[in-house]
Each structure stands twice: as C-alpha cells, then as structure tokens.
Amino acid sequence: MNARLLPLIATVVIFLAAYAVCYVQFPAILSTRVVGNLLTDNAFLGIAAVGMTFVILSGGIDLSIGSVIAFSGVFIAVLLRDTGLHPVPVFVLLLAITTLFGACMGAAIHFLEMPPFIVTLAGMFLARGMAYVLSIDAVPIDHDFFDLLKDAYWLMPGKGRLTFIGGLMMLVFLAGIVLAHRTRFGTNVYALGGGAATASLMGVPVARTTIAIYALSGFLAGLSGIVFATYTSAGYSLATVGVELDAIAAVVIGGTLLTGGSGFVAGTLVGVLIMGLIQTYIVFDGTLSSWWTKIVIGFLLFAFILLQKGLVLVSTRERGTADGPGRGT
C-alpha cells in the first residue's frame, strides 16, 4: 500500500516544490487570484482528465476526448444559433449524445475485442468529422445564460475569483474520488485494470463495467465541452486538438499506472495543476516561449514513467515473481 501511495506523494511534492520555486521568483504567484485563474483556465482539461483517469485505471485509453470537446462546442453553438432552444435542454441533449458515443466505443472495445487505442482513434476521427460537418467556422455563442455562467464567481479571500467552471471542476474531482474509492463501480474499475481475466473470474461484470467506463469518459468529455464553450464563448471544430494527450499526461504525472489498476483521481488534479503551473510560470516570466511547456511536460512524463517502472520492479521483486510487465495496450 505504501509503494502505491509513493507516486501520488511524489506528484504532490513536485507540485509544492515547483510552486515554491515560482514563489521565490515571483511572490505574487501565491495570491488567490493566481490560484483562481489556475482553476478556471484548466477547468475543461481537469474535467476531461477525470474521465481519462477511470479509463486508464481500467487499463484502457481514450483518444477521442479532444474531438468530443470540440464537437460539443460546435454542437452547442450551432444549435443555439439555429434553433431557439434554451441552453439547458441543449446541454442535456449533448450529454446524452456524448455518453451514448462513449458507451458505443466501450461496447466495440468489449465485444469486438479490439485494442481501445484503435477503437477510440476511430471515435476521434468520427467526432472531429462530425464537428467539421456541423460547421468549419468558429461559431460565436451569444446567449444571456452563457454570460451568466461565465461571470458567476465566488470571491475568495484575497480577491481571487473561484469561477463557476473552476468550482465545477473541483466538484467533478470530488465526485470522481467518491466514485473511484467508495462505490462498487470504482472497485470494478480497479479490478479490471489488474487484469480482465482475473476480474471476470472474481465476478466483475466486465462488459457492463467496460461500457460504463467509456460512457463516463464520454459524459465528462461532453461536460468538458460545455465548460470549454463557456470559457471561450464559441464553438470551433479545430479547437482542443491534442487535449487527449494533455489529459493522458496529467493522469500519468498524477501517479496513475498506465498499465491500469493503480492510481488516484486526486493525483490527476495535482497533475493538471502542475501543467497549469508550468504555463503560469511561463506567462509570469515573459521571456520563455510557450514551447517549453511541451518539453517540460514531456520530461515530467518520462520521469514519472521511470518512477512507476522502478516501483513495479521493486514490488514484483518483493513478491518473488520474475514476471515481466505486460506489453498489451
């Protein structure tokens, strides 16, 4: 249990150390304003990353979320422009579509016995393509309800603003933590990540759980799309390209094992915050270019994967089994 907590502890330590380094250079970074912006700017990524955490915990991967977020934005914008519907029914419709979309991918993965990688790759093409078909241009969203969502905030001490979308991300993370560690579904996800064969022998409903995991990821990607549309006040089919990579990176940096079965939803939150902090630092610094973000994230990814490999190696040595780690995806 201790070894399992180690990646999470490492993530938290790195985050605190990085924040301390930033603080030494720019004392202003410790204000609640910066914290509030950190939450707001990364809200869509965080929400999508919660879904990705569940998928990766189960030993799968979901490449479609960036496209689903873009599709959601375009879908909302086009529907609000062309029909007189209120945003709330549009949201409900959208979440139903993306959840169903995720469920279909989960069903394909389970029943066709294909690697999640290629199934969700098809899903990625499909969602992005549907977004293009709806509209190639950026469609502005102009609705009072959206302005309301965008401007809703709670003033933290120190004049920092916890916006509605930032708060929503925290709520989603809380719900994710409860779902992962306090429900039967969560236990099933961990069991599935430990190995589909053992899980089904233990009586885990593999089919239902797989479909539910990808449906959850689809639902959260849709929710993330709503947040992104609120954040940018527009729907654009070329937006959020590569968010799935950021989400995977956040999950890995958050200490979740990419082979599945071990990790924490809370770690993903810290992972998202680390990535946000790098960007904030670059903005504060002003001389560094944004491409350093990618390089630093790549390096962090590498460091965490190495850490995990070391831990897996140590724990298998302790157990006395010389079995090499699995290579399947």
Binding site: I118, F125, L126, G298, T329
Partner: protein
C-alpha cells in the same frame, strides 16, 4: 510461383479497394487518368496521388515494422517536425545537401534510438514510450526553429520536395526505393520472420534465442529513419520548416495505412507492400473527396467509417463467429472471450 500467387492473394483486397476508389473517381472525372509530361516532369492526378502520399507512405514503412512487433510509434509526426526543422536549420547555416541529409537522418535515428531504448530496455509500453516524444517533439522542433517558420532557398534541398528524377517526382522515387530496400532486407533475410516472432510472443522468441532487444531498437530506429525522410520531403515541399504543423496527425494516417494494409495491431504477420497500397488508398480518398467537390470535412467521417469496418472484419470475435456459423450455433460471446494479455 507459389510464393508469387500467395503474395498476390495477400495484397488482393487492398488492390481491389484502391482500384475501386480510382474507378469511382474516374467515373465522375473522365480525365482523371490523364498523365502528361511538361518541363521534363510527369503531371496528372494519378502522379499527384503518388506524390502527395509520399510522407504517409514513408511513415507507413517504418510503422509496419513497429506494429509487426506489437508496438506502435506515435512520435513519427513530431519526428517529421524535428527532422524538417533540422534540415531547414542546416540550410540556413549554409551546409551542403549531404550534410543536411546526414543531420536530419541522424536526428531521426537518435529519436528512434530513444524510443527503442524506452521500449526494449526499460520495457515501457510502446504507446506510452512514444507518447513522450509525441508531446515533447514539437517543442524540440520549435526550439530548433526558434518558434518561427524557417524558410530556405537552397535549390538542392528543394529538389527533394518538388524536383524530378527521370520525369518522376523525387518524393515518389524516394518512397518507392525506401519501400523496396526495406522489403528486400526483411524478406530476403530472416529479419522479417524474427520481427514477426517478436510480435507474436516476445518472451517465447527471446527464449528461442532471438535478440529481441537489439531487434526492437532497430525497428524503432527504422521508423525514425523513415520519419526523417518524410520530414525532409515535407519541409522541402513547402520550402520551410513549420514546427507546429509539419506532420501533424500523420502518425494516425500512417497507422491507418498499416491497418488498411491488413497488418494486425496485435502484432505478427506484416506486409510492407500492402501498407504502401494502404497509404495510396488514403491519399486517393483525399484526392477523390477534393475533386468531387464534397466538403473536405467529410474526409474524417469517411476515414472513421473505414477504420470501423476494418476493425469489425479484423476482430477476433468476428472470426470466431465465422467459424461457429460454419459448425454450430454461436454461444454467448462473453463466455468465449479470449483474453489477450
């Protein structure tokens, strides 16, 4: 003779699909197959497909080998950006063509070596190991170009992107020769079989005496080499290195080409020729959609549908179903599910 018929039977579905797409296009555009020679170079839509398909075809060669070992290389698009940027940087520094090519190719080989070490020595899943370079690679490329689009005017370098050798566009010559060399190397020696052995069962082949570690590293380096050639072609074609957009999402097209070529993502048997035809199929589709005046947006939807169809055809569940339809009523799929790990 037996080998030739077997080979033809292997690539028959891909050839049929390609022919079908070409015929479909030519029905709507009677002048589609027209090829003419102007300024000592071939022009026409079929040549255009061969030419535009060059980067994906090159990537598909390396990707086929990687996928045959049950791996995947997500970093090739980012590698293209790195190698293109290296070439452009070399050109702005005033190096000659051989030096520029040597620089780019060694950049690709080093990146491939990195991927290979992560996969073969550190035993990281290929999808994760190559993800690192996929994320960081564009950053590195931007570091080389210093964030700008590096342009160059060196005639010898531009020749690689838009020149012609014996009337055929240079990119076409390059990918065809690369495909031939790699096919000969893996099929005229035991290498191809050993690669397949690794893909089928890594541990068994290691125990049987295959030096899987060296072979895996070599395969990822081959993929890096192909990516560097593709990157130089892409940069030479637009006479500049665009770190953000060079090779963007081409790794997915390359994987798609391999999958269309009938190589299973679960490793094992592979065919480079079939993957190359797969790359041409993708390019023919792109060209066809552009010519037909369909909005290019439909491109992705059609690609997705093709992937889905192939998935269903390739899936173990469908195969068991086919067997059971011949013999006896099919039992509940949940019971017969084989676990691949």
């Amino acid at each position: 003779m037996n080998g030739a018929t077997r080979f033809l039977r292997r690539i028959a579905p891909q050839l049929a699909i390609l022919a079908g797409i070409l015929v479909l296009i030519s029905v709507f555009f009677p002048g589609f197959f027209e090829v003419r020679i102007a300024n000592g170079r071939l022009y026409g839509s079929p040549i255009d497909i061969l030419n535009r398909g060059a980067p994906v075809a090159l990537l598909a060669i390396g990707m086929t080998l990687v996928i045959a070992t049950r791996g995947i290389d997500l970093s090739v698009g980012a590698l293209m950006a790195i190698c293109g940027a290296t070439a452009a940087w070399g050109s702005t520094q005033g190096y000659g063509l051989p030096a520029i090519l040597a620089l780019s190719v060694s950049a690709g080989l080093v990146c491939g070596l990195w991927n290979g070490i992560l996969v073969a020595v550190l035993r990281i899943q290929p999808i994760v190991a190559t993800l690192i370079l996929m994320v960081a690679g564009r950053g590195i490329a931007q570091l080389i170009t210093e964030g700008a689009i590096l342009t160059f005017n060196q005639e010898s370098l531009i020749f690689i992107g838009s020149g012609s050798i014996l009337t055929a566009p240079t990119p076409v010559v390059i990918w065809m020769i690369a495909g031939m060399i790699v096919t000969l190397v893996v099929r005229r020696s035991a290498l191809g079989m050993l690669i397949e052995a690794i893909g089928v069962n890594l541990r068994a082949s290691t125990l049987a005496g295959v030096n899987s570690r060296v072979l895996l590293i070599a395969v990822y380096m081959a993929s890096g080499l192909c990516a560097s050639l593709a990157g130089v072609i892409a940069a030479a074609d637009i006479r500049g290195a665009d770190a953000n957009n060079a090779g963007l999402w081409l790794e997915l097209d390359a994987i798609l080409a391999v999958v269309i070529g009938g190589t299973s993502l679960l490793g094992g048997r592979f065919s480079i020729v079939a993957s190359l035809i797969g790359a041409l199929i993708i390019q023919a589709m792109n060209t066809g959609i552009l010519l037909s005046g369909f909005p290019p947006e439909f491109n992705l939807v059609i690609k997705a549908l093709i992937v889905l169809t192939i998935l269903i055809l390739q899936s173990p569940a469908t195969r068991t179903a086919a067997v059971f339809f011949r013999r006896q009523p099919r039992p509940d799929p949940a019971d017969t599910r084989t676990v691949t790990q």
